[in-house]
Symmetry: C2
Subunit: 385 residues, 2 copies
């Protein structure tokens, strides 16, 4: 245990990646619950759903048809949050003009992809083997590589990835018309996390701007490096491997921890053990090891409350367009934010106090890690074939 | 319209209160929805529920009984997130010790209250009249006043409030044992916002630390004041009253706007028109005018989709313990964050991209304000008596 007293007292913990604090109330898990219960997700899906716009061969919203793809298939989202071409907009800010300071807007362009994980409508990452997850990571890597700026510090690694990882002929998008700044890969899993289609898939939003979260992380990792000469997440990995209190699982290349500063009850972080800057830094073996780590998280989550565990996950890595220094500062990692707290049906709501004041959690990350360590092994339900 | 082009192009807007950006995708409301639908809240509650721990006369979790109160009643939460007395903890940070930088924790003490809005189990702020809401604001004001530090710049206003607003003999808490730093008043309304009991109530969490959100707002308002010599929200109120595009409703003392930087689909902000630093600055008439504003928000929300509209709301004002400068920098306001997007059953999920990258919204704040302007008038359902 970190400092025994933290199991008992209310305290704030510091998130060095975002530079912000959260409130931890270890004694608060005993309160009664009369509120909303989530509907447990049922596994009653067909392997192929003729109405699903992600299943192989089906028609999508705007008329295009999906190929009869085998595992992954990437296409441009029919309802993208950002578009590649739009009218320009160049407002000016001026200290003496309050409107220019208080009503600020800037254009954002980009391209959004949807990427299926499998041809099967009724599977999930927890049902898939690490080997079956590798094509997903390969496609992520190829899409990242093909969107890197021509002068990017990782351009040689990108070139090599594009040469060595076989192209997915079923579709993996194509480089955008204009160079973009950032690529955010994320998955919303389960209806509780706003997923509008259960067919296993993630999204990839590329934008002309660096969004808030990866932006904050880069700044804070940069400061730590300037102050100490070391990598923030490098030091953190070392500490966690020494202390073991928050480690859920590890292989040679990756470690899964419930981070010290976790906000969501069973939040985890997959961290590369060596300094990996982006997907294109991973070799064949490491991509398989990363697939193993993702599989471990997904399976342990489902085992924890014996349910199809909802979460949002996302990868942070070097931006698509960045300086040598920014690439060096980046440390590859993947966040998982799951809402369930006490069972398949009771979730933690990040609401009033959390939105108005600061995030608050009940069980400690150390308690969460202990539970997740204990639910490895076979998937509680028969994996779908 | 602000700049016509912003109705069409994807753009980022800047939130000057928090110093962060969000992504706006005006064209994105057309996408199909196959995901979770909220269960519409039904008005089938009894006026008195013998099992509710907030109803007058009932027993609470830890054995105490509620008085037979008339309207509001405040008591210390039986499952407080922070406690007044706990073991101490004084870690040191040291640049050469990575653990002291990356595993930081600080103790937080405080006291959490629950405050009922009405004796009736089945009512809501939308069903109540402004006159019936005044006692809620009076109790907020008295609790705030009685928790102010003895040397607080608003101590005279607090004294006056405690003298002129009649004491609620049914219970309004009592000053904490140690001086605290901040008081966060907030309401979670509806099961969709994690509310575990439908009896109308809010919570008040007082803490020994200044939480993240009010802390960020103070810093940004302070910077604006230093740069321009004016109040950020003072300038903003003026701008909105001139432009009218985002104004939902106003009276002499308060204005309701969908802020330029709104994240939630129908997010609104109640702003005082004159420079009010905290609840104790409001006079009798202004407290009634504030009650009118709250009533307008609650009723319009319910009218919008003809449902018991869920939201989290919260008040930001001068901290309980602060300098003259911090009090002067504060500008009283109340946020409302409601999750519904398109109907009583379809909400906006702030998930994958929002959590991993940055908040994203579909309809513009100007469109939201127009809809909320149009649904004033009588409550769509017969208000409960
Ligand atoms: O205190 P309550 O109403 O039981 O709990 C609710 O509000 C709290 C403060 O926003 C949250 O931490 C909880 O997750 C939520 O369920
Ligand atoms: O794109 P989807 O899956 O339809 O939509 C989901 O993910 C998006 C990105 O996190 C969110 O903006 C939406 O609110 C959510 O419902």
């Amino acid at each position: 245990m970190p400092d025994e007293v933290l199991n008992d007292i209310s305290h704030r913990r510091y998130n060095p990646l975002t530079g912000s604090w959260l409130l931890v109330s270890p004694h608060r898990t005993k309160r009664p619950w009369q509120g909303a219960q989530e509907t447990p997700s049922k596994n009653t899906l067909p392997e192929y759903d003729p109405k699903c716009y992600l299943c192989p061969g089906n028609k999508r919203a705007q008329g295009d048809s999906n190929p009869h793809y085998k595992n992954t298939f990437a296409f441009v989202n029919d309802y993208s949050a950002v578009k590649e071409e739009q009218q320009d907009y160049h407002p000016e800010t001026n200290k003496d003009d309050a409107a220019s300071l208080l009503l600020q807007a800037r254009p954002v362009t980009g391209r959004c992809y949807v990427l299926t994980f499998s041809a099967k409508h009724d599977t999930t990452l927890a049902d898939m083997t690490a080997e079956e997850i590798v094509p997903v990571i390969n496609t992520w890597t190829r899409i990242y590589a093909s969107h890197l700026s021509p002068s990017h510090p990782l351009k040689d690694q990108a070139k090599q990835a594009l040469e060595s990882i076989p192209q997915n002929l079923d579709g993996e998008g194509e480089p955008p018309k204009h160079q973009l700044k950032n690529m955010q890969i994320f998955e919303n899993k389960g209806a509780a996390m706003g997923c509008s289609n259960p067919h296993p898939h993630c999204q990839i939003w590329t934008t002309s701007t660096l969004p808030e979260e990866p932006g904050k992380e880069l700044v804070n990792m940069g400061k730590y490096k300037a102050d100490t000469g070391r990598h923030l997440l490098g030091d953190y990995v070392k500490l966690e491997l020494e202390k073991k209190e928050r480690v859920v699982w590890e292989n040679d290349a990756f470690v899964i921890v419930c981070p010290w500063w976790a906000v969501w009850p069973f939040e985890v972080l997959i961290l590369s053990k060596r300094h990996v800057r982006a997907l294109v830094d991973l070799d064949d073996k490491e991509r398989l090891q990363f697939a193993e780590a993702i599989q471990e998280v997904a399976r342990r989550y489902d085992n924890l409350f014996e349910t199809n565990f909802p979460y949002s996950s996302g990868i942070h890595q070097a931006p698509l367009d960045c300086t040598e220094e920014e690439a060096e500062t980046s440390w590859f990692h993947m966040h998982f934010y799951p809402p369930l707290l006490r069972s398949a049906t009771v979730k933690k709501f990040l609401v009033g106090y959390e939105l108005m004041a600061e995030p608050q959690r009940d069980i400690t990350p150390e308690q969460a890690a202990a539970k997740l360590r204990d639910c490895g092994g076979e998937l509680y339900r028969k994996p779908l074939q």
